[in-house]
C-alpha cells in the first residue's frame, strides 16, 4: 500500500497513510468488485428513487396507465381475436343495450352462468362481452382494432423516445461539458434543427421515403423532439461541470469520456427519463396526426388510421351517431399521453428537491408579509 508513484503536493516529509487516515483508510481503498458497484449504483439510482417515487400519486397513476398499455400490447393481443370486417353488425353502437344490458340478455354484456367469455385459448364463465366499443361501418369491432394497434404504437413511442433522448443526451452533454468551439458548433446545429418547422419537414421526408415499419416512424418523428432537450441538458451540464467533484475528477486527470459517463450522466438520468416520457408523448401526437392526414402509408391497425376511416368514410363529425368511431382512438391517445405526463411529473417531483425546499422555505418565512 505504498504511494511512492503518486506526486506529493505538500513537498514535505511524507506521512504514512496510517498516520493520516487511521485504520479506516485500509478499508476505503478496497476496490469494489464490478458486481458490488453495479448493485450500489442500482440502489442509488434506481431503487431508492423508485421507493420515493411510489409515494407520489401521480407517479403511481402514470405507471398504472403505462403498465396497462404495455399489458394490452403484450398480453392483450394474444387474448383478443384479430379484428376483421363483418365480425360484428355494421355500424354497431358502443354499449349496445345500455345499462339494462347488464341484467337483460343480449346487448353488450351478458351476466349469468350460462354465458362465458372465451379468449383464444380459454374462457371465463359468468359473463360475456359482445363488442362493447361498437363496430365501424364494415363491421370491424373497434375494441379489437384498438387492442391490436397497441403494439405498433408502443414500438413507435419507445423507438422515438430512445432515439430523440439519445441524440439529445449525446449532443447536449458533450456541448455543455466541452464548452468553447465544440459547444458553439453543436448548439448551432441544434438551433438550426430547432427552428425548422418539424411537422412539415417530417411530412416532406415521409412523402418521399414513406416509412413502413412502426419503429421507423418513431425514429423519423424523433427529428422534431430532440433539439429542445439537447439545449436543456446542456444548461444542466453547465452548472454540473463547475461542481467540485467534477473538478476533482478533472484534476485527477480522468478523461472527458470517463467524467461524462461516471460523474455527469448519472446526475442527469432522472432528467433524461422525464424527457423521454415527454418525447414519447410528442412522437405519438405526431404519428397519429400523420396517419390521420393519410400521409404515412396505411399498414397495420393503427389509432390514426382508425380516426382517418371514421373521419372520411363514416363522416363521424357530420353525423354524430358515428362519433363513437372517432372517439375511441382519440381517447386512447389522450389516456396514454396523460399517463406519460403524469409519470414525468411524478419523476420531476421526486428528483427536484428544489421545488420542495423552496416551497417549505416560502411557507415558513413569508407568512408575515404575504397577508393576501
Amino acid at each position: 500500500m505504498s504511494h511512492t508513484d503518486e506526486p506529493r503536493t505538500d513537498g514535505g516529509e511524507p506521512l504514512s497513510d496510517e498516520q493520516l487516515f487511521g485504520q479506516l483508510a485500509e478499508k476505503d481503498r478496497v476496490e469494489l468488485s464490478r458486481k458490488e458497484r453495479y448493485s450500489r449504483a442500482l440502489d442509488a439510482y434506481v431503487l431508492a428513487p423508485a421507493r420515493v417515487a411510489w409515494e407520489d400519486w401521480r407517479m403511481r397513476f402514470g405507471i398504472f396507465i403505462i403498465t396497462m398499455f404495455v399489458f394490452v400490447g403484450v398480453v392483450g393481443t394474444r387474448l383478443v381475436p384479430r379484428p376483421g370486417t363483418n365480425q360484428a353488425p355494421n355500424n354497431l353502437q358502443p354499449f349496445q343495450g345500455g345499462v339494462s344490458a347488464i341484467w337483460e340478455d343480449g346487448g353488450w354484456i351478458d351476466i349469468g352462468l350460462e354465458h362465458s367469455y372465451s379468449f383464444q385459448y380459454f374462457s371465463i364463465p359468468g359473463f360475456d362481452l359482445e363488442y362493447p366499443l361498437g363496430a365501424d361501418n364494415y363491421g370491424t369491432p373497434i375494441g379489437r382494432n384498438l387492442v391490436h394497434a397497441t403494439p405498433d404504437m408502443l414500438e413507435m413511442v419507445i423507438a422515438g423516445a430512445i432515439v430523440s433522448v439519445g441524440i439529445a443526451a449525446l449532443i447536449g452533454i458533450t456541448a455543455g461539458y466541452k464548452g468553447g468551439k465544440i459547444d458553439s458548433f453543436l448548439m448551432y446545429i441544434t438551433d438550426i434543427v430547432m427552428t425548422m418547422p418539424g411537422l412539415p419537414l417530417i411530412i416532406v421526408i415521409a412523402a418521399i421515403y414513406p416509412p413502413r415499419q412502426a419503429w421507423l416512424v418513431g425514429v423519423v418523428l424523433a427529428i422534431d423532439s430532440w433539439p429542445g432537450l439537447a439545449r436543456a441538458l446542456r444548461s444542466q451540464v453547465l452548472t454540473l461541470r463547475e461542481e467540485s467533484y467534477v473538478e476533482a475528477s478533472r484534476t485527477m486527470g480522468l478523461t472527458s469520456k470517463t467524467i461524462l459517463s461516471r460523474d455527469i450522466t448519472p446526475q442527469l438520468m432522472p432528467y433524461i427519463l422525464i424527457n423521454a416520457a415527454h418525447a414519447g408523448r410528442s412522437v405519438i401526437f405526431g404519428a397519429i396526426a400523420l396517419y390521420f392526414l393519410g400521409i404515412l402509408p396505411f399498414t397495420t391497425a393503427n389509432w390514426g388510421i382508425m380516426m382517418d376511416t371514421a373521419y372520411s368514410e363514416a363522416h363521424a363529425l357530420v353525423n354524430l351517431a358515428n362519433f363513437y368511431q372517432i372517439f375511441w382512438p382519440m381517447a386512447a391517445v389522450v389516456v396514454i399521453s396523460f399517463g406519460l405526463i403524469m409519470f414525468a411529473q411524478g419523476m420531476d417531483r421526486v428528483f427536484n428537491p428544489r421545488i420542495r425546499a423552496r416551497h417549505a422555505k416560502k411557507v415558513g418565512g413569508d407568512g408575515e408579509s404575504v397577508d393576501n
Partner: protein
C-alpha cells in the same frame, strides 16, 4: 448591436441549410421526386397516346422544378439557391400550373393570422393562469388547475379541433365548418367581410390556442414559485416596496423570461400545427396546400411550402429575439465559459 447582427446571420444560415436539405431530398437522393415527376409525365403522355420523347420529358421536369437534369449537381445547387434567394422562384406547381410562390404567397397571411392569434392567446392564458396558480399556491384552486392544465396538455390539438368542429360547427351550427370567409360577400374593407373572416377563424384559432397553451401554465407556476422563494424578494419586502410593484416588476418579469425563450421554440410548433388544423377546417393556408401537395404528389409545391414554413418561422423567431432584448436587458452580455 452585435447580438442582432448575429441573430440575422444565424437566421440566414438556417435558411441556407434548409434549402440545402430540400435540394438534397429533391435532387440527390435515389428515387427522388424529380425522377418520380418524370415517370408521372411519361405516364400522362402515354395515356394520351403520344410517343414519349426523353428530351421532352426533361424539358417538362426542368420547367416545373427550375433545374436542368443534364447539369452536374453543384451547378444545379447554385442555380437552385439563386432562384430561391434572388428571384423568389420556388418552381412551378404541377397540379395548379401556377408558380409555387404565387400560390403560397396569397395563402400565407391566412396561416399567419391563425397561428399568431393562437400563440398570443395561448401564452397570455399561460401567464395569467400560471401566475394565479402560483399566487394561490397550495390552495384547492391551485391543485384543480394543475390537474386541468395537465389534462389539457395531454389532449392533442387536433383532437380539440375535431371536437370543436363536430359540436360547434356541425351540431350547433354556431360556426362555419370550413373556408376562410363567406364567398358570397364582396371582398374588401367592409364590416361584414371582416366579421365573416373572424367568424371563420374562431375555431382554428381556438384549436391553435391548445398548441400554445400546452404545459406553459405549469412552467409559469413553477417559475413564479421558485422566484417567490428568492432572497431578493424578501429584501424588497423589507424595503417596503408595494405589493403591486413586487408582483409585476420582481416576480412577473423574472418568471416570464424562461417562458419567453420557450415561446421562441414554440413558434415552430405552432406554425407546424397548421398543416393538420388547416386540413381539418379546410382553411386554405400554407398548411392546407402542403397537405394538398402530398396527396397530389405535387413535389414543387410541397418543397415550396416547406421553405415557406421555414421562412415564416424564422421571421417569427427573429421578431421574438429582437423583443427579447427589450424584456431582458442582460442579453448580449454573453456567458463565456471556460472550455475544457
Amino acid at each position: 448591436m452585435r447580438y442582432f447582427v448575429n441573430r440575422v446571420l444565424h437566421a440566414f444560415v438556417v435558411l441556407i441549410s434548409v434549402t440545402t436539405i430540400t435540394f438534397a431530398l429533391f435532387r440527390l437522393m435515389p428515387g427522388n421526386p424529380a425522377q418520380a415527376m418524370r415517370a408521372q409525365f411519361e405516364a400522362q403522355a402515354e395515356a394520351r397516346g403520344q410517343t414519349v420523347n426523353p428530351d421532352y420529358l426533361d424539358a417538362m421536369v426542368a420547367q416545373h422544378t427550375g433545374f436542368d437534369p443534364d447539369q452536374p449537381w453543384y451547378i444545379q445547387y447554385v442555380e437552385y439557391l439563386q432562384d430561391i434567394i434572388l428571384y423568389q422562384d420556388f418552381g412551378h406547381s404541377i397540379f395548379y400550373n401556377e408558380p409555387v410562390f404565387d400560390i403560397l404567397f396569397t395563402a400565407m397571411p391566412w396561416s399567419i393570422f391563425i397561428s399568431v392569434y393562437g400563440l398570443a392567446f395561448g401564452y397570455t392564458a399561460n401567464i395569467l393562469l400560471g401566475a394565479a396558480m402560483a399566487y394561490a399556491e397550495g390552495s384547492r384552486f391551485d391543485s384543480y388547475s394543475t390537474v386541468l392544465a395537465t389534462f389539457l396538455n395531454s389532449v392533442p390539438y387536433y383532437v380539440g379541433a375535431i371536437l370543436f368542429l363536430a359540436f360547434f360547427a356541425y351540431q350547433l351550427g354556431w360556426f362555419p365548418s370550413g373556408g376562410r370567409y363567406n364567398t358570397n360577400l364582396e371582398a374588401g374593407l367592409n364590416v361584414q367581410f371582416m366579421a365573416s373572416i373572424t367568424h371563420h377563424a374562431v375555431l382554428p384559432i381556438m384549436s391553435s390556442f391548445i398548441v400554445g397553451f400546452g404545459g406553459g401554465a405549469l412552467a409559469m407556476r413553477g417559475n413564479s414559485i421558485r422566484i417567490l422563494g428568492e432572497d431578493y424578494l424578501r429584501v424588497a419586502r423589507l424595503r417596503g416596496i408595494s405589493s403591486e410593484r413586487i408582483a409585476t416588476r420582481y416576480v412577473a418579469r423574472n418568471a416570464i423570461l424562461p417562458l419567453y425563450t420557450e415561446m421562441m421554440i414554440g413558434i415552430a410548433a405552432v406554425f407546424s400545427s397548421s398543416v393538420v388544423l388547416e386540413f381539418i377546417f379546410t382553411y386554405p393556408g400554407v398548411g392546407w396546400y402542403t397537405y394538398d401537395a402530398v396527396i397530389r404528389r405535387d413535389y414543387p409545391l410541397l418543397m415550396g411550402s416547406f421553405l415557406f414554413f421555414t421562412i415564416v418561422t424564422l421571421i417569427g423567431i427573429l421578431i421574438a429575439e429582437f423583443t427579447y432584448g427589450i424584456v431582458d436587458p442582460r442579453i448580449g452580455s454573453g456567458e463565456n465559459n471556460e472550455s475544457y
